[in-house]
């Protein structure tokens, strides 16, 4: 079934590789960014922490007020390092002392331990370090010592510029790696596909009737099974072609031989002066013509099966078997053969090509009668199973060699005695009905062949495809 979604290997690879690569690429950049941001934060926070400690160490309450030394030299260093602005704020929890940039935001947590957080102040992004210190003695005789909040903040412009540089670096590094990987992939796929292109050239140059196997030794291991399958297919085609050729040789021989006999009999009849002799000869010619007509009928039936498009109509299988038995009863009697007809009580009706089915069963019975020894027995039996109906012919003839048995079921089987065409027709008819044809030697001598037709499970109820039809 041709599929519109069939893509080239390159497109399939691209479809998987490009989004996957972009995902990997994106997460790699994101991870790098995060890791670097954390590292940068901890490095920058350390310098804020130094300033916090310096202010904290110089807070004094000896005067009775809150004295402090602001580390301006440290602030200047910070400003120079951060190429930004440094802010500080010192305030008591009672709100009386508010020094520095008094509108710096409060830290998110009420803890006394040093903490660092991002904030916005005067429209700028800040990194703020904060620490709280409980004074040793209360100021102005308050009942409890005040807690002083110390904050030092710096603008994050330089930190962000640094991160931006790292991000750009990471981006270009990853992008280069990605592009290189894709380029290698494209080249690699090209290299890998080259043997396939050479293979295509070999197919293109192949002669129409060339059924010889391909040499797959130079192809990649992944393609080798394909070549093996192809070679097996070629071998089957070659076998079949050979079988077909043998069959037609055989069939044409079977037609040419009676025609030569007829020609000789005709010459003899014309040449003989004896009227009685001429009549006997003509009488003998009738039998030859009958046999030739039967062979021709078989070949025509086979051709009709092969041409397909035979309409199936409901056929009573018991009726067919009965008619076929009657047809061959005289021949059987001549050889004192007991012809048994074993039919079920209920009629079994299947959709079938009646004429072809009749012809096929008739050929099988003809083979059985012809090959049975005089005084033997031949049985014609209808065996109705749950999913199939088997039309079985068994005899006490010579049976088949294992080699021939193995090839029963192939089209264009030949045996040089005319039985081949009958078997081939049975196989073709069985397949045409979606059924099978089997043959087996019987214990105690003889052959049993079966033409097995599928029974549609719910013919009258719905139009579903029969189960075993979909299998074929």
């Amino acid at each position: 079934m041709p599929d519109r979604r069939v893509r080239s290997l390159r497109a399939t690879l691209a479809l998987w590789m490009i989004p996957a690569s972009l995902c990997v690429f994106g997460s790699s950049i994101w991870l790098t960014q995060n890791a670097i941001a954390r590292l940068a934060d901890s490095a920058y926070d350390r310098s804020l922490s130094g300033a916090l400690r310096a202010i904290e160490a110089d807070l004094s309450v000896q005067s009775g007020g809150l004295g402090m030394e602001l580390p301006y030299a440290l602030f200047a260093n910070l400003q120079a390092a951060a190429t930004g602005t440094v802010y500080f704020r010192i305030s008591t929890d009672d709100g009386l002392v508010q020094i520095g940039d008094t509108r710096l935001p409060d830290p998110p947590s009420p803890t006394r331990a040093a903490q660092f957080f991002d904030a916005t102040y005067l429209g700028q992004s800040l990194r703020v370090g904060a620490v709280r210190k409980r004074l040793a003695v209360p100021l102005y005789g308050a009942p409890t010592p005040q807690t002083v909040l110390i904050e030092v903040a710096e603008t994050t412009a330089s930190r962000e510029a640094f991160l931006g540089r790292i991000a750009r670096l990471a981006f270009w590094r990853d992008a280069t790696a990605l592009l290189a990987a894709l380029a290698v992939l494209v080249v690699g796929v090209g290299m890998a596909l080259r043997p396939l292109l050479r293979l295509r050239d070999r197919f293109d140059r192949r002669a129409p009737g060339d059924l010889s196997p391909l040499d797959g030794s130079a192809l990649p291991a992944e393609v080798r099974p394909l070549i093996d399958s192809f070679n097996a297919l070629m071998a089957r085609h070659a076998d079949q072609a050979a079988g077909q050729k043998r069959f037609f040789d055989d069939a044409s021989h079977q037609l040419r031989t009676p025609l030569s006999v007829l020609r000789m009999q005709l010459d003899y009849a014309l040449a003989t002066p004896d009227t009685a002799e001429r009549e006997a000869t003509l009488e003998a010619m009738r039998g030859v013509v009958d046999r030739t007509a039967r062979t021709t009928g078989q070949l025509l039936a086979l051709a009709r099966v092969d041409s397909g498009a035979v309409p199936l109509t409901p056929v009573d299988l018991s009726a067919i078997l009965r008619e076929v038995a009657f047809l061959h009863l005289p021949a059987a009697r001549r050889k004192r053969i007991a012809l048994d007809l074993d039919l079920p009580d209920a009629p079994e009706t299947l959709p079938a090509a009646e004429t072809l089915l009749y012809e096929a069963v008739s050929n099988l019975l003809d083979n059985a009668v012809r090959l049975s020894p005089p005084g033997g027995e031949v049985t014609l039996r209808l065996d109705v199973r749950p999913k199939a109906a088997a039309l079985i012919v068994s005899d006490r003839g010579p049976g088949m060699t294992p080699e021939r048995l193995a090839r029963v079921g192939e089209r264009f089987l030949t045996d040089g005695e005319g039985a081949g065409i009958g078997l081939s027709l049975a196989v073709a008819v069985a397949r045409m009905h979606g059924g099978t044809f089997t043959a087996a030697n019987r214990p105690g001598g003889g052959l049993e062949v079966a033409l097995i037709l599928p029974r549609p499970p719910a013919l009258s109820k719905n139009r579903h495809m029969p189960e075993n039809e979909s299998r074929l």
């Binding site: 005067s63 009775g64 007020g65 809150l66 004295g67 402090m68 602001l70 301006y72 030299a73 602030f75 200047a76 602005t85 440094v86 008591t92 009672d94 709100g95 009386l96 002392v97 508010q98 020094i99 520095g100 940039d101 008094t102 509108r103 005067l122 429209g123 700028q124 100021l139 102005y140 005789g141 308050a142």
Partner: protein
């Protein structure tokens, strides 16, 4: 002499020796003047002025620095710790009245201490480093307008305090967004001068007297403008007023002292008499001139009235500037 008797009482309360009380000895009359800031600002100047003014009276004045909340800590300390000690006085300025009136001293009001006297009046000034790129007040304000984050203004008191109000009023005059203006709060003029020297702020909204005193002491500063109606005298005569430079904002700054709430009326009266005598003397006028200050001798009811007016002004200005 009434004040001699008063000093005896102080002595009892300071040294707490029964012997001294009984002996009626003539001790050194020692007063502690608390400057509620770090050294070097207007409060420091006020205490030094008091010391110099009382120099001839036999009363010695020792300065003590009690920074914290621009006077808030000292204000609460005197109420909690020495409420009845007439030998402890605290320097105040108009900024203190502003903070008190606006609630920055906690749940306190004007009646929580006893106001002794106004010693002088100073004027708001704008001071920058001597090497600063701005020659005039408009230059500086233009720079603030252009880059509010880069040109930080400093001053005593917090946001909503008197120095901030002056900065905010000027900002309003020039169409600068007050919310964008960076104002760094310090304990007083001294803290701001320190930050100015370190380059942490670019201008201080200090007062003329203490700024010129710092310059006299050799600090590399320059005054861009003084917020007085007319030019001041002496060394400050060379500094143009803000008004001259197109910024019509006068900003007198009253300076004075107060004492604890439970100091006896008699002691307060003693103080008033001593100070009245001192503040109107010609020697005091000369003293003011050396400290680059103008006279404003106020005590008693006149002082109370003036302070009540300032308190009202503070609230009015706060409303005008949208201080919460």
């Amino acid at each position: 002499m009434a004040h001699r008797y008063a000093v005896h009482v102080w002595l009892c309360s300071i040294v707490m020796t029964v012997w001294a009380c009984l002996a009626q000895a003539a001790p050194p009359r020692a007063v502690t003047c608390i400057a509620p800031a770090q050294p070097g600002g207007g409060f420091d100047l006020t205490c030094r002025l008091l010391a110099d003014a009382l120099n001839g009276t036999g009363i010695t004045v020792k300065s003590r620095f009690m920074p914290g909340g621009v006077g808030a800590v000292a204000f609460n300390a005197i109420i909690n710790q020495t409420p009845a000690d007439p030998a402890t006085v605290v320097a105040f300025s108009e900024g203190s009245i502003y903070n008190l009136s606006l609630g920055h001293y906690g749940a306190r009001d004007m009646g929580d201490v006893r106001w002794l006297a106004a010693l002088a009046v100073d004027y708001g000034a704008v001071v920058v480093r001597a090497d600063a790129p701005w020659a005039t007040l408009p230059d500086l304000l233009a720079a603030v307008k252009a880059e509010p984050q880069r040109v930080a203004l400093g001053g005593g008191g917090m946001i909503g305090g008197q120095d901030w109000m002056r900065a905010a009023t000027m900002a309003q005059m020039l169409g600068i967004d007050i919310a964008q203006m960076r104002f760094v709060a310090f304990e007083g003029g001294g803290g701001c001068i320190e930050a100015l020297a370190a380059g942490f702020v670019q201008a201080c909204l200090n007062d003329a007297g203490d700024s010129q005193t710092a310059i006299d002491d050799g600090q590399p500063l320059k005054l861009l403008a003084i917020h007085s109606a007319n030019r001041l005298s002496g060394a400050l005569a060379a500094v143009p007023t803000a008004r001259e430079q197109g910024v019509p904002l006068d900003w007198p700054v009253l300076r004075g002292i107060y004492t604890g709430p439970q100091v006896a009326d008699a002691d307060v009266e003693d103080w008033r008499q001593v100070l009245n005598a001192v503040l109107t003397s010609p020697a005091y006028a000369d003293l003011l001139a050396t400290h680059h200050l103008e006279p404003m001798p106020l005590t008693g009811p006149a002082l109370e009235e003036r302070l009540a007016q300032l308190s009202q002004d503070a609230r009015t200005r706060a409303v005008q500037l949208g201080v919460p």
